[in-house]
């Protein structure tokens, strides 16, 4: 998809892939044929540059035809470089300017509470994104409003555009920070489906907002992209794409046989 578009953000999309997959195909209570179903859970992509993984999940869930993914970032196509809620079915908010999604999620959660709707809001942010001040304004507010039906998942891949987050501007310790702001927080392996699903389901049962700090690998699953800041916002060439797809298909097979054995 990103290769076809010639630009985009593969690194963070891959680090979030397992989390987003777990959400759309196991955790979220949603109806792709009725996208505005009032009782649905919401998935809010705050790190909007990872639009490719959101679009892939939406298409595979049935919100729109999978063939539309080829139109990513192209003129006259609904799939914008960063998500646009008015252009793409299933996209809950427009995002792209980092730091706003958690605050918007608070507004959505407050409205759900006023309307006595049962849905839960799952918001995906990034560790680099956590350098934005608005994230911490929102962290303060979500705890203050005691939002039981809000979970933030921080895709903590340790990298941002200019390098390692620990070198550019250290955001750690993230679980301690969220706890200090009044949240319940825990850290998980963001590539272990069992752990991801267990944590997301658990977060529904906790009083007050929950932060799940997911330790991930940027570019996960593609050997030459893993842990490389350079793959934050660059499209692979045709050859690189072919190699990436071979590697990912291999892992798909392994996962499938593991699932059968389990």
């Amino acid at each position: 998809m990103v290769s076809e578009a010639g630009s985009g953000h593969p690194g963070g999309s891959l680090s979030s892939a397992d989390i987003v997959t777990a959400l759309y195909f196991h955790v979220l209570n949603h109806r792709p044929q009725e996208p505005k179903w009032p009782e649905r859970d919401r998935f809010i992509l705050s790190k909007g540059h990872c639009a490719p993984i959101l679009y892939a999940a939406l298409a595979r869930s049935g919100y729109f035809p999978v063939e539309e993914l080829e139109g990513l970032r192209k003129i006259d196509c609904s799939l914008q470089g960063h998500p646009d809620m008015n252009k793409t079915t299933g996209v809950e908010i427009s995002s792209g300017s980092l730091g706003q999604g958690l605050s918007i999620s608070i507004g959505i959660a407050l409205a759900m509470r006023l309307d006595k709707q049962p849905g839960h809001v799952f918001t995906l942010t990034g560790d680099g994104e956590s350098q934005e001040g608005e994230i911490w304004e929102a962290a303060m507010a979500a705890a203050h409003y005691k939002l039981d039906h809000l979970t933030v998942i921080v895709d903590c891949n340790g990298l941002q555009i200019d390098g390692f987050t620990k070198d550019i501007m250290n955001v750690e310790p993230l679980t301690d920070k969220y706890e200090a702001f009044g949240w319940t927080a825990r850290s998980i392996d963001g590539h272990d489906f069992k752990e991801i699903i267990e944590a997301l389901e658990w977060s529904r049962t906790v009083e007050g907002p929950v932060a799940i700090v997911a330790r991930t690998v940027k570019g996960k699953g593609v050997s030459f992209m893993e842990n490389q800041a350079g793959w934050h916002g660059k499209a692979p060439t045709d050859e690189q794409e072919a190699q990436a797809m071979v590697e990912l298909k291999e892992q798909e097979k392994t996962l499938a046989s593991e699932a059968q054995g389990a």
Partner: protein, 316 residues
């Protein structure tokens, strides 16, 4: 005008109308950023506490939370001072509200220099320009208490995002009771044939005073209250300048980006005439009493009269 209408601040009308909307409509919610006593959203907070959210000193967070509420079907009214609503939270307003066309009403008080003694950090002289630049944003600057009340009441049913600017000072009434609505947002308060005066906010009253003075000098001035700066009522503005052949504008805002520019854009495109702009001349404000500031920054009926005479003389 009846005697009992003592000057009142437009922000007070916002507070009263917001409370009324809150009582009328269950989907109205209000937000403030620790200035509810100044913006007057405190009236709503006291009587509709379950739908009021004071987010503390965090304007960016407030705008994004308002966006989330609007996405979920609420009609949010978000208030703080104009300088913070438009400057501090510009990106949240741009990306989170204007671009997705969400029905958030940004009701900013303390617009302009008449904030007074707090000085330039709190005086918004560029808010109209900032909001006017945003696609989808409707920009409203009411001229008195009653017109503000009407604007806020009418906003409930208006699609898309809106910016409504109110002020701190007590100002005289122009409308004896709240009008039914703002219409197209250009209200010809006095007909004239020699020069058009387009004014907004507190400057409308001063424009009427200037027209009175000009009449004594045998100059017939038409006074138009522009309450909707964007989208501006092109027909009324063009018709007025076509008739008079020249114009002045008056606003408590920078001469760049506000009402003056909006009127000049209409003129340049549809009927080019000479236009003089009375406003803040591309500088920041300072501390002082509101009236001292209006005098020092030349925003008085006297300065407007002088500018009108100059423009008229040079366009003959």
């Amino acid at each position: 005008m009846s005697e009992e209408l003592k000057p009142r601040a437009t922000r007070e009308a916002y507070g009263a109308a917001l409370l009324e909307l809150g009582k009328l409509h269950d989907d109205v919610v209000a937000l403030d950023a620790d200035l509810s006593g100044s913006t007057m959203s405190k009236l709503f907070a006291a009587q509709v506490p379950e739908r009021f959210f004071n987010v503390g000193v965090a304007e960016a967070n407030m705008m994004s939370i308002a966006a989330g509420l609007a996405i979920s079907g609420k009609i949010p009214y978000a208030s703080t001072f104009a300088v913070f609503a438009t400057g501090r939270a510009f990106d949240q307003v741009r990306q989170g509200i204007a671009q997705p066309k969400l029905p958030v009403r940004i009701c900013a008080s303390h617009g302009g220099l008449t904030v007074g003694e707090d000085g330039c950090s709190h005086q918004s002289v560029e808010d109209i320009g900032l909001m006017r630049m945003l696609p989808n944003m409707k920009v409203v600057v009411p001229a008195d208490y009653n017109q503000t009340y009407a604007a806020v009441m009418e906003s409930y049913d208006t699609p898309g995002p809106m910016y409504i600017r109110t002020g701190r000072p007590l100002i005289p009434f122009l409308y004896e009771k709240p009008p039914a609505g703002l219409g197209a947002g250009a209200d010809v308060l006095r007909a004239g044939s020699d020069i058009s005066i387009f004014a907004c906010g507190i400057m409308v009253k001063k424009a009427l005073e200037a027209a009175e003075e000009l009449a004594k000098r045998d100059i017939s001035a038409e006074v138009v209250n522009i309450s909707i700066i964007k989208p501006i009522d092109v027909d009324t503005v063009a018709a007025s300048i076509s008739k008079t052949g020249c114009a002045v504008t008056a606003e408590e805002h920078s001469i760049i980006g506000g009402l003056g520019d909006a009127v000049m854009e209409v003129s340049a495109e549809f009927h080019p005439v000479r236009i003089g702009r009375l406003g803040i001349k591309d500088v920041f404000g300072k501390s002082g009493s509101p009236n001292q500031l209006l005098e020092e920054f030349q925003l008085t009926s006297g300065h407007l009269t002088g500018l009108a005479e100059q423009v008229l003389a040079s366009s003959k």
